[in-house]
C-alpha cells in the first residue's frame, strides 16, 4: 500500500501543439491540504482536469491509492471518490439547492408501495444534516437562481460531499468571494481536512496557501518548478518561483490633480423586479479612477447600465453638467462602456471585427451616409484599432469574433470604447478570465486614460484590482453605497466588511 492517495507520474498534456503540462510528477498524501500554485495559464487547471477525468493525459499515469487508474470521465472520478468544485459553477438554475446537490443520486421512495418517485423530503433532510456537519450553511429549498455566489459555492462543495468524495479539488475558489467569505471558506477547508478529506487547492493567492496548506506545488508555464512544505518557504520565494522572473506587485501610478466633475450622480434608484439600486450618489472628476467594490449582484452592474441608459432609473445623472437620465442609449453613446459580460452585451460573436468595431457608432456620419453603411470605413477603422491595440486575429478586420481568444475579444471592446474621445469610461470586470499579460495591458490602458484626464468608473469583484488602481473607492451592499473614501484611507479588510454590510 502506497503512502500517497494520489500519484501523478510523468504527465504530459498538449492542446493543438501547445504544451499545457510537461512531464509532471507529483504525489499527494491522504488527509493533507495540497496547494497547486501558479499564474493564470500555468497549467494548474489542466493538470487537475485530468485527475477529474475531463481531459486525458497524452503521456503518463495516474495512481489512486497505489492503483493505476484510467479516469475517462467525471463519472469515473466520482467512483474513485474524487470531486471537484469548479470555478464556474455548474448548477441548474431553476432547481432548488437540494435538487442540485442530489442530482444524479436522488433518494427514492414508493408511493402506495407502487410508484417510485424522487423523495425530496428525505433529500432535504440529508442536505440539512450534511450542511450542519460541515458548517456549510444553506437553505435546502431555495432556488439556485435566487441565491448568492457564496451560497452557490457552498452548494458545489455539498454536492461533492454528498457524493462522498474523499479527495476534493477546489479550482480558484476564492476569486469571487469577499475577504470575510474567504475566511469562512478557508475554515471549511480546514474542517474538511480534520474530518479526513484530502484537499487540493488550485490558486494563485499566496496568503491563502500560507494560511491553510501543508504542501504546495508550484507550476510555471506548464512545468513543475518545485514542491515544498509550506512551513519552510516564504511567500516571497513562492512568488518568485511562480512567475520565474522578478515581478513588481505595485503598479506605477503617478499622482494627478483632479479636474472638473465629469459625472455627478444623485439619488439614483433602479428597479428591476426588486429595488436593486437605492439612492446612490457619487461624483467622479476628470483624471479620477472611482471604483465600486461589492459582492456580485449587489446592484453595481445596474448602476453602470443606468448611467448608459440601458436600464431605466430614477434620480439624477449629470454628465458634464448636463442631465442625461432621460436620454436614450444612443444619445449617451459617447460614454465609453465596457460591459460585464462581453459575450452577451459587448460583442456580436457572429459578426467580424469590423462590424463589432463600429457596434456603437455605425450610424454616425463617418460610417453611414444616407442610410447606406460604408463598409470600407468599417474595415479601415477596425484595422486602425487592430494595429493600435495589438489585437491578434487571423484574418484582420474580417476575422470572426467567435474564433478569437477571450483576451483579444476583450481588447476589441476596450479599443472600441476607449478610442472614442470620451470624458467618461465605465469598466465592469474588465479583466475577468484573462491571463496575467492581458490584465497588465488593460490596467495600463486604464492608467493611460486617467493620465489623459478621463474620468473612470471601475466596477470589479476583484478587490486586488480595485486596491491597486483606484483613487476613490465606493463600497456597495444590497444596492446601497456603504461608504465612499479615498483609496489610501481604506484597508482591504475594511472594504471587505463594508461589502458584507457588517462594518461597525
Amino acid at each position: 500500500m502506497s503512502d500517497y492517495i494520489i500519484e501523478m507520474k510523468n504527465i504530459t498534456k498538449k492542446f493543438k501543439g501547445i504544451v499545457a503540462n510537461e512531464n509532471i510528477n507529483l504525489s499527494i498524501k491522504k488527509g493533507e491540504i495540497f496547494a497547486i500554485l501558479g499564474e493564470n495559464g500555468a497549467g494548474k487547471s489542466t493538470l487537475m482536469s485530468m485527475l477529474f477525468g475531463m481531459n486525458k493525459p497524452d503521456e503518463g499515469e495516474i495512481y489512486i491509492n497505489g492503483q493505476p487508474r484510467d479516469i475517462k470521465s467525471p463519472n469515473d472520478a466520482y467512483k474513485l471518490n474524487i470531486g471537484m468544485v469548479h470555478q464556474h459553477f455548474k448548477l441548474v438554475s431553476e432547481y432548488t439547492i437540494t435538487e442540485n446537490i442530489v442530482l444524479g443520486n436522488e433518494p427514492m421512495k414508493k408511493k402506495f408501495g407502487l410508484f417510485p418517485h424522487v423523495d425530496l423530503k428525505e433529500a432535504n433532510q440529508k442536505v440539512k444534516e450534511l450542511s450542519q456537519k460541515y458548517g456549510l450553511q444553506v437553505n435546502p429549498t431555495d432556488i439556485i437562481k435566487n441565491t448568492t455566489v457564496s451560497t452557490m459555492q457552498r452548494v458545489e462543495i455539498l454536492k461533492m460531499l454528498y457524493k462522498e468524495a474523499e479527495i476534493l479539488i477546489f479550482d480558484e475558489p476564492t476569486a469571487v468571494l469577499t475577504p470575510q467569505e474567504i475566511e469562512l471558506l478557508l475554515e471549511v477547508i480546514v474542517n474538511l481536512k480534520k474530518s479526513g478529506k484530502t484537499i487540493i487547492l488550485i490558486t494563485h493567492k499566496l496568503d491563502e496557501v500560507k494560511k491553510v496548506a501543508n504542501r504546495c506545488a508550484i507550476l510555471n508555464k506548464g512545468k513543475l518548478i518545485d514542491i515544498q512544505e509550506v512551513a519552510n518557504i516564504s511567500t516571497q520565494d513562492m512568488a518568485r518561483l511562480m512567475v520565474a522572473k522578478e515581478m513588481s506587485f505595485n503598479i506605477y501610478k503617478p499622482t494627478i490633480e483632479l479636474g472638473d466633475i465629469i459625472l455627478d450622480i444623485n439619488n439614483l434608484c433602479v428597479k428591476t423586479n426588486i429595488d436593486v439600486v437605492k439612492n446612490v450618489s457619487f461624483k467622479i472628476h476628470a483624471g479620477e479612477i472611482f471604483s465600486i467594490a461589492g459582492v456580485s449582484g449587489n446592484g453595481q452592474v445596474e448602476i453602470a447600465d443606468a448611467i448608459c441608459g440601458i436600464l431605466p432609473c430614477k434620480g439624477s445623472i449629470k454628465f458634464n453638467n448636463i442631465e442625461i437620465s432621460s436620454l436614450s442609449v444612443r444619445e449617451r453613446v459617447n460614454i465609453g462602456y465596457i460591459p460585464e459580460d462581453r459575450h452577451k452585451h459587448g460583442l456580436i460573436l457572429d459578426f467580424d471585427i469590423s462590424r463589432n468595431a463600429v457596434l456603437r457608432d455605425y450610424y454616425k456620419p463617418q460610417f453611414c451616409k444616407d442610410n447606406i453603411i460604408l463598409k470600407n470605413e468599417f474595415v479601415k477603422f477596425a484595422d486602425s484599432l487592430i494595429s493600435k491595440y495589438d489585437i491578434r486575429c487571423a484574418n484582420g478586420a474580417k476575422t470572426n469574433m467567435r474564433s478569437m481568444s477571450g483576451g483579444n475579444q476583450q481588447k476589441v471592446i476596450i479599443a472600441r470604447e476607449t478610442s472614442r474621445i470620451s470624458k467618461l469610461v465605465i469598466f465592469v470586470q474588465p479583466t475577468r478570465g484573462l491571463d496575467i499579460g492581458a490584465r497588465q495591458n488593460i490596467h495600463n490602458e486604464i492608467l493611460r486614460l486617467r493620465a489623459m484626464g478621463t474620468a473612470i468608473l471601475l466596477i470589479s469583484l476583484e478587490l486586488d484590482e480595485i486596491m491597486q488602481l483606484s483613487d476613490t473607492i465606493g463600497v456597495i451592499y444590497n444596492g446601497e453605497i456603504q461608504t465612499i473614501k479615498e483609496a489610501s484611507q481604506l484597508s482591504k479588510e475594511d472594504v471587505g466588511e463594508f461589502m458584507m454590510g457588517v462594518h461597525a
Binding site: G346, D350, L359, Y362, N371
Partner: protein, 349 residues
C-alpha cells in the same frame, strides 16, 4: 465559392437519392429528370400544342416562380432578425384577398389597377406582419404561436367572406378578377404564340436586388442582423430592439404580401376558400436551401420550382409519381441542415 458548396453538395446528393428511388420503382431516372426540365420550359418537349413552344412553357415557369421568390425573401428577412415567420401563407392570403375585393373586382383600367394591386398587397401583408412583430414586442407573444393563430384566423375569415359574398358557384372558388387587375398578362398573341407575361417577375428581380442591398448595405440591415444575432448587445449599441423587430416583420409581411398578389392575382385569378397556399411553407425550405440570403433564395426558388413545376409533366409522360419531387426537395433540406456539421468539422481541423 464556399457559400454555394454545401447547397450544391446537398442538391447533388438528393438528386442521386432521387435516381435510386426512381430506379427502385422501375423507371428511367434520366428521362424523368429530363422531363423536369422540359416541363419547366428549359428543354424542348417532343411536341407542342398549338400556339405553344418551349418559350411559352418557360414563361409559365417564371409565372409560377414569382410568388415563390417573394415568399422566400419574406422568410429570409424575418430569419435575419432572428424571427421565424411561419405566417407567410396567411399574409399571402390576406394580401391576395384584400387586393382581390378592392381592385380585382373594380372596373379600373390596367394602368391604374396593376400598380394599385401591388401597393395594396404590400400594405396588407405588411400590416399582418407588423401585427406579429408588435405582439412580440409589446406582449412577449412568441411569433410562432401568433403566426399560427393568425394563419387559422385569416384562413377562416377570408373563407367566410368569399363564401358569403364572392363565391363562384361553379368553381367553388372566389369569382375571377378582372383581367385588368391581373399581374400576369394571359395568352398574349405574339409571333404566332400565346404567351403568359408575368409582370410580377420583373418586380421580383428588382425586389431581390433591393432586399440584398437592404440586408448588406444599409443601416437598417445592420440593425436587423445585430438584433437577430444578439439582442442584449444590440440594446447596448443603442438599437431599439422592439421597434427593429416590428420593422423587420413589417418588411417580411410586405414581401409575403407581394407573394400573395402575384399568386392570387397573377398565377391564379381566384382564391380557393379555406386553403392556405403551400408556397408559404415551401418558402421556408427554399430560403434555407438558399443560405438565407437574397440572391441565394432567388437561385433556390429557381431550382425548387423546376422540380415542383416540372414534376407534373414528368408524371404524365414517364409515369413517375410527382411526389418524387417533394421527396427530392425534402432531401435537399435534410442534407443542407447537415451542412452546419460539415462547416464545424472543417473549423476544427
Amino acid at each position: 465559392m464556399k457559400k454555394i458548396k454545401i447547397p450544391l453538395i446537398s442538391l447533388g446528393l438528393s438528386l442521386i437519392t432521387g435516381i435510386i428511388v426512381i430506379l427502385l420503382i422501375g423507371k428511367n431516372p434520366l428521362t424523368a429528370y429530363q422531363n423536369l426540365l422540359q416541363g419547366s420550359g428549359l428543354l424542348p418537349k417532343p411536341s407542342y400544342a398549338g400556339y405553344k413552344n418551349m418559350f411559352t412553357d418557360f414563361m409559365v415557369f417564371l409565372n409560377t416562380l414569382t410568388p415563390m421568390v417573394f415568399a422566400a425573401l419574406s422568410v429570409v428577412v424575418a430569419f435575419k432578425a432572428g424571427l421565424f415567420n411561419i405566417g407567410v401563407s396567411s399574409q399571402m392570403l390576406f394580401a391576395g384577398f384584400i387586393a382581390t375585393i378592392t381592385i380585382g373586382y373594380s372596373p379600373l383600367n390596367g394602368f391604374i389597377a396593376k400598380p394599385l394591386v401591388i401597393i395594396i398587397g404590400i400594405m396588407a401583408g405588411a400590416l399582418l406582419g407588423a401585427l406579429i412583430g408588435f405582439l412580440k414586442y409589446k406582449f412577449n407573444i412568441n411569433e410562432v404561436v401568433s403566426s399560427i393563430m393568425l394563419n387559422y384566423i385569416v384562413q377562416y375569415t377570408t373563407s367566410f367572406f368569399i363564401n358569403t359574398k364572392y363565391i363562384d358557384v361553379v368553381s367553388r372558388q372566389s369569382k375571377n378578377i378582372s383581367p385588368d387587375a391581373s399581374l400576369t398578362l394571359k395568352n398574349i398573341e405574339i409571333a404566332g404564340l400565346k404567351i403568359d407575361i408575368p409582370l410580377g417577375f420583373v418586380v421580383a428581380i428588382i425586389v431581390v436586388i433591393i432586399i440584398k442591398i437592404i440586408i448588406n448595405n444599409t443601416k437598417f440591415g445592420y440593425e436587423i442582423e445585430a438584433v437577430g444575432k444578439n439582442k442584449e448587445a444590440s440594446t447596448y449599441a443603442g438599437i431599439n430592439v422592439g421597434i427593429t423587430l416590428v420593422k423587420a416583420m413589417l418588411l417580411s409581411g410586405a414581401l409575403a404580401g407581394l407573394a400573395g398578389v402575384t399568386y392570387y392575382l397573377g398565377l391564379n385569378l381566384s382564391i380557393q376558400p379555406r386553403t392556405l397556399p403551400t408556397i408559404g411553407f415551401d418558402a421556408i425550405a427554399v430560403a434555407l436551401f438558399g443560405n438565407l440570403s437574397a440572391i441565394g433564395s432567388f437561385i433556390a426558388s429557381f431550382i425548387i420550382t423546376i422540380i415542383t413545376k416540372g414534376s407534373a409533366y414528368m408524371s404524365s409522360i414517364s409515369k413517375v409519381p410527382a411526389e418524387i419531387a417533394s421527396i427530392i426537395i425534402a432531401l435537399i433540406l435534410v442534407f443542407s441542415a447537415c451542412g452546419a456539421y460539415i462547416k464545424l468539422k472543417k473549423g476544427a481541423k
